[in-house]
């Protein structure tokens, strides 16, 4: 049986070797063509938010500014389906404000006329989730050169880099570098796409959404530079993706302290039981080979035969 198993092992190893050789041969004879994205794609720019780190908390004023950017800019194309108006409490709005935000929302909620049963729409209520800007995917694509603006509810969890990625995309629009076109003449950004080195394939369908300073007039008077608006939008999307972040951090701190105390007490109980009472025992000892050698050396030193 051992022989058969050894043979199977050798066969697998042999086929792997063939795969390896053929892979290397292919690589040497026809090396893969370099892609513009391999060279010009950039990792997200660093972004520091107050919600970062194990003790991070949301900056509610920033979230409100970010919500304003979403309302006035992003929401023209992007839905926020998983978030309800009532959730805005987490941004520091009170019930009356939330009611007003819901009923003033630019798109209405599909409904049924209670008298006739005909389909109609009504104003949004705090219990509704944000109504999407387009009725369905076909409508969304038709309005956006056949590209589908993704839902933003989970965006900062659904992309590597999270908030930093969102911030980098929003501020990363730029003309295609001359270098790139010189090296990869075929990689010219196609019409209706926009060059953005932070996007995986460098060309994103979304046109630059934040173009001019002062595009949004912040209610709290913060100067609305493009960079500031991008930061605030990213911070807001951290909240939409993880509205329980503050609770999570607070619970976490308490649980860690609790378990730390539990671990220490448990260790002391264990230590007393094993090492300090008259029943005390040694768990390991001269049994391990290195300890055997040590004890032999010790014996030789002390002039004890053995």
């Amino acid at each position: 049986m051992r022989f058969i198993l050894g043979f199977i092992g050798a066969v697998f190893a042999g086929v792997l070797l063939i795969s390896l050789i053929s892979g290397v041969a292919t690589y040497v004879s026809s090396p893969p063509a370099p892609l513009a994205a391999d060279e010009f794609h950039k990792p997200p720019k660093p972004l520091h938010l107050s919600s970062d780190g194990p003790f991070g908390k949301f900056d509610k004023r920033q979230l409100q500014r970010g919500f304003q950017v979403y309302t006035e800019v992003c929401s023209a194309c992007h839905s926020l389906k998983l978030v309800s108006f009532r959730d805005l409490k987490g941004l520091g709005y009170d019930d009356a404000e939330i009611k007003k935000i819901a009923s003033d929302w630019k798109t209405q909620v599909p409904s049924i006329n209670p008298d006739t049963g005909e389909e109609t729409t009504r104003k949004a209520l705090p219990s509704d989730s944000f109504p999407p800007p387009f009725a369905n995917e076909v409508a969304a694509r038709a309005a956006n050169n056949n590209a589908l603006p993704p839902d933003l509810s989970l965006m900062t969890k659904a992309r590597e880099g999270g908030a930093a990625y969102v911030y980098s995309i929003l501020t990363g629009f730029q003309p295609q570098p001359a270098d790139l076109l010189k090296k990869f003449p075929d990689a010219k950004t196609p019409p209706n796409l926009h060059y953005n080195p932070y996007f995986a394939n460098l060309n994103i369908a979304m046109p630059p959404p934040l173009t001019t300073n002062g595009q949004v007039t912040y209610a709290d008077g913060t100067p609305s530079t493009v960079d500031q608006m991008a930061r605030d939008a990213a911070a807001f999307l951290v909240w939409t993706a993880e509205p329980n972040l503050e609770d999570r951090h607070a619970y976490g701190a308490a649980v860690v302290v609790f378990l730390l105390i539990g671990t220490i007490l448990g260790f002391l109980a264990y230590h007393q039981l094993w090492h300090e009472t008259k029943r005390s025992v040694r768990e390991t000892g001269p049994l391990e080979p290195q300890n055997q050698a040590k004890s032999r050396r010790a014996k030789t030193k002390a002039g004890i035969a053995g």
Partner: protein, 439 residues
């Protein structure tokens, strides 16, 4: 159960006596994890991961049952029931979900350590072959359960992971494709697949729990192994499980829970993949499809076969991947060395650590996009994996000269070694230094 000096259960309270006469459950618990189970006194901390695995199975079952109360197993509703209802609206739903997500990862972490402990200390050798094999059955069930659980949120990686993994079956000629369609209930993962995965994901943990009972039962016949691999000889070699090992497992499990809490509360998505927060879309393949981290070494083996040599490359990959686990069932007969513990096997020990490095490298290779360099490393590492178990291990066990074993566990543990070895009249060194210090 195993040793003649094992203490018998003696109920003191009349109620317990009454119960013991009718349904001796406390007697069972006493013999299994109480004072009635003698355990070798020299266990080190690598022996604490079995109890930790039981702990995480319990955590998974409890969080899972509550999550199932809020989850909707429908292709239209699954993603929202997880990411809207559970994560936002259910009280502490985010905690249940993150604990369940990371609990799966920690279950695998402690089980991998448990398995490698068994590999190093020869825990698979006679008379514990069935303990080892039942453990492997648990591991296979865990993999199936984890895979189906990962499908349930119906994100992009859920969907495409299901597509890839059920695609394994289609590698087999003739029966493969019909089998795959039968298993999925369709040509691609959809409603039928999701509901049956949910049903099985709820069932399998209880099957695991049942096999765990068998695993522990089979363990209690010969009793636990120990770091020397030397058999227990008499009462001096053992300590009762309770209170000694309950105390040791207790504080160590709390320490593992601490690590679990830190990840769950402060980096809950660290071990996951961002793409699973995108709803499943059968029309858009993700840039790269990768399974959860605990499958990466096997995924690397699967992908390493790139050439149709007699058989199609995909079939080679699938066969090799299944073999990589199945061969472990033969381990008790592959490794012929009568010495159990790797501590006394100088050659085996080196190859063991090489295997650990190899599996880590395979994990790295399986977790990233297949670049030419990664492919080469992955192929070498996969080849070494098979050579290690099927060629190197039998040879090492045949030719290696092991170090001398201690005569018994207690001999050295109980400080008796020096006194015993010393000729009459000679003072042991320890006493000498102690006297010197006193002066």
């Amino acid at each position: 159960m195993s040793f003649s000096w094992a203490k018998a259960y003696e109920p003191k309270h009349p109620l317990m006596r009454w119960l013991d006469d009718r349904l001796p459950l406390p007697r069972l618990a006493y013999g299994a994890v109480g004072g009635g189970y003698p355990v070798p006194r020299n266990l080190n901390y690598w022996w604490n991961f079995g109890v930790a695995a039981g702990l995480f199975l319990t955590i998974q079952i409890i969080t899972g049952i509550v999550l199932a109360m809020h989850y909707t197993a429908s292709a239209d509703g699954a993603f929202n029931s997880v990411n809207q209802l559970i994560m936002r609206d259910v009280n502490a739903g985010w905690l249940l979900r993150y604990a369940h997500m990371n609990g799966a990862s920690f279950f695998f972490i402690v089980v991998y350590i448990h398995i490698f402990r068994g590999l190093y200390y020869g825990s698979y050798k006679a008379p514990r072959e069935l303990v080892w094999m039942l453990g492997l059955v648990i591991y296979l069930l865990m993999m199936a359960t984890a895979f189906m659980g990962y499908v349930l949120p119906w994100g992009q990686m859920s969907y495409w992971g299901a597509q890839v993994i059920t695609g394994f079956f289609s590698a087999f000629p003739l029966v493969g494709e019909p089998l795959r369609i039968w298993l999925l209930g369709g040509y691609a993962p959809d409603q039928a697949a999701l509901t049956r995965f949910f049903s099985l994901h709820y069932l399998l943990p209880f099957v695991i729990a049942a096999v765990v009972v068998l695993h522990i039962w089979a363990l209690h016949i010969p009793g636990s192994g120990n770091p020397t691999g030397v058999d227990v000889k008499d009462e001096r070699d053992t300590l009762p499980f309770h209170p000694f090992f309950t105390a040791k497992d207790g504080w160590f499990s709390a320490a593992i829970l601490l690590a679990f809490a830190i990840v769950t509360y402060f980096a809950p998505n660290y071990l996951g993949h961002a793409d699973n927060y995108i709803p499943a879309n059968p029309l858009a393949t993700p840039a790269e499809i990768v399974p959860e981290w605990y499958f990466w070494p096997f995924y690397a083996i699967l992908r390493s076969f790139t050439v149709d040599f007699i058989l199609p490359a995909k079939l080679w990959g699938v066969l090799a991947m299944f073999s990589s686990i199945l061969l472990l069932f033969f381990l008790p007969w592959i490794d012929r060395s009568p010495v159990r513990s790797g501590s006394y096997r100088p050659v085996f020990k080196r190859f063991f650590w090489l295997l650990v490095i190899d599996v880590v490298v395979l994990g790295w290779a399986g977790g990233g996009a297949p670049t030419p360099l990664r492919n080469v490393i992955s192929q070498l590492a996969a080849a070494y994996y098979f050579l290690h178990f099927l060629v190197i291990l039998p040879l090492v066990s045949a030719f290696e000269t092991p170090l001398p074993l201690p005569r018994s566990i207690s001999e050295s543990v109980l400080h008796g070694e020096e006194a015993e070895a010393a000729p009459a009249g000679a003072k042991p060194r320890r006493t000498k230094t102690a006297t010197a210090a006193a002066e």
